[in-house]
């Protein structure tokens, strides 16, 4: 098992949080993991991205420059990182925000209207977790128990009321595409 994941989108879409969920899940599964955010001048609504490595062996560079999986939550992210994805890699796009299609033929593309699906279920702002659910379904990067526990660990103690909503959003992702 070796997954180099790049999550990208707008600040405020929960990009870093989603990365943390994946990292925690991988860790609980006994994998080596790393999580690295992009950082720069603080700007609300600016672009954010996050590199997550999940591997059976120690991780060298935590910076994902050739992702196995790209989650693009907005158009600039897709445009910027599409070409970086490894051949036969996976690109997941929030199709309720991004109208464009993946141009490459040598990668697998998944289009999921995560933002709309979340909103339809009264889970506005939880598109990231819908994507996380689908990511799990597509890649099976850890055990089911570790994935759920990873979500629990990622929600801060003082925001436990949000845990159920996060889990509900993940369910939407898991059931999507059927």
């Amino acid at each position: 098992m070796n997954m180099n994941l790049l999550l990208a989108g707008f600040g405020g879409q929960g990009i870093l949080f989603t990365g943390k969920v994946v990292a925690y899940a991988g860790m609980l599964d006994g994998k080596e993991i790393s999580w690295l955010p992009s950082y720069g001048p603080e700007m609300r609504g600016g672009t954010a991205n996050c590199s997550v490595c999940v591997s059976d062996s120690p991780i060298g560079s935590p910076l994902v420059t050739a992702p196995d999986v790209l989650i693009a939550m907005n158009l600039p992210s897709l445009e910027k990182f599409e070409s970086a994805v490894v051949p036969n890699g996976l690109i997941m796009v929030d199709s309720s925000i991004v109208d464009e299609k993946v141009k490459r033929n040598d990668v697998r593309a998944v289009y999921l209207p995560a933002t709309r699906l979340a909103a339809d279920s009264g889970l506005k702002g939880m598109a990231n977790m819908v994507m996380a659910g689908r990511l799990y379904k597509e890649t099976d990067f850890c055990s089911d128990a570790s994935f759920k526990e990873g979500i629990k660990k990622s929600v801060p103690a003082r925001k436990q009321e949000l845990l159920d909503k996060n889990l509900a959003a993940v369910e939407i992702g898991l059931k999507s595409g059927e």
């Binding site: 943390k20 990292a23 860790m27 993991i33 790393s34 955010p37």
Partner: protein, 353 residues
């Protein structure tokens, strides 16, 4: 065994300092060390400690000087431009024989440079941290776990040798999260400091913490004595990690974030049948001269990998002393080398041997 938790390098280092008995932190905001100070501001009031946001880096390091002189474990953290401002204080700490921890979460320079990870402060840390003849202990973590583990070492060796210690990290290690274990059974005791200016209590002569020796023969004698101490440290405290070096013909030398990348490159080279290995200095001062010297037995060539235009490579060249070719590969300005780029360099060298 405490459980593994996911922590950011900056926060892990801060928590480790608290675990090591540090209760006095003086800092000034700068990217990319921000989370370190923020963590301290959150945690220090809970453990009865002091977090003070100073008016400048200059003031912060001098507050550290005062606190250390008064006998407590004290630290400051910053990123490259801020370390330049602290250089005055570093010189005075060394000249006053005071222990203190200084953390540099390196970013690109010179000037304001950039805020992305860099290793361009190697010379500053090991050579030119301030005016005058002096050295600091310099530790280079390459994982978040090491950001934790080296803190206790930096504090306790600083105490043992009465000198400032630096943790030379970078934006990559500071910002990334990895699983870590916070093992507080490794907590080190803060030793007695009979030299401290904590008030003589009418029980002893007054203590003086000072770096001024106006009489040249006296100052020379003190400097010589300090350099004898440095020699003892060089003998005793060199640390590095060797990876696949036993039969290595091409020996990479890299520290910190560059070492992680080089390690991947070594694995990739081995898969292609190239006998590559890695020496990862953990102490940058004292530099692991012994390990590099003894590796000349198998090495046909050395390759230094850094996130700079080539600084540590000087030390490797000094040790190798012309007996083997020493190449350099680096990215700078906030660019991070990839394992593929490093592998390419290894291949070039392999073809050239």
């Amino acid at each position: 065994m405490p459980e593994k938790v996911l922590m950011k390098g900056n926060e892990a280092l801060a928590e480790a300092a608290i675990m090591a008995g540090c209760r006095h932190f003086f800092g000034y905001p700068i990217t990319p060390q921000t989370e370190l100070a923020a963590h301290m501001s959150k945690r220090m009031p809970k453990v009865g400690g002091v977090y003070l946001q100073a008016e400048s880096e200059v003031a912060a390091v001098n507050m550290v000087l005062g606190a250390s002189a008064a006998g407590v474990r004290a630290m400051t953290s910053s990123s490259s431009p801020g370390i330049s401002l602290k250089s005055e204080g570093l010189s005075y700490l060394a000249g006053s024989d005071l222990p203190a921890l200084i953390v540099n979460v390196q970013r690109a320079g010179p000037g304001l440079g950039g805020i992305q990870p860099s290793q361009a402060d190697y010379w500053q840390a090991t050579r030119a941290s301030g005016h005058g003849d002096f050295k600091m202990l310099v530790f280079a973590p390459s994982t978040v776990q090491e950001m934790i583990d080296l803190v206790a070492d930096a504090f306790s060796l600083g105490d043992e040798y009465r000198m400032p210690a630096m943790i030379l990290s970078d934006g990559l290690l500071g910002q990334m999260m990895e699983p870590v274990v916070m093992d507080d059974t490794k907590r080190t005791e803060v030793p007695e400091r009979p030299w401290a200016v904590s008030g003589h209590g009418n029980k002893r002569e007054h203590n003086i913490v000072n770096s001024l020796y106006i009489d040249p023969p006296n100052l020379e004698a003190i400097l010589k004595e300090r350099y004898e101490k440095y020699e003892r440290i060089k003998e005793k405290e060199q640390r590095c990690e060797e990876y696949r070096t036993d039969d290595a013909e091409i020996v990479l030398v890299a520290y910190g974030a560059s070492a992680r990348i080089s390690r991947s490159a070594v694995d990739a080279a081995r898969k292609e049948g190239i006998k590559a290995g890695l020496i990862r200095p953990i102490t940058l001062w004292p530099y692991p001269e012994k390990a590099i010297s003894s590796r000349m037995a198998t090495a046909k060539a050395f390759l230094c990998v850094e996130m700079s235009t080539g600084q540590m490579v000087d030390d490797v060249r000094l040790i190798v002393n012309g007996k083997r070719p020493v190449s350099f590969y680096g990215r700078t300005g906030g660019m991070i080398p990839t394992p593929a780029e490093v592998l390419n360099e290894i291949k070039k060298m392999n073809g050239g041997i």
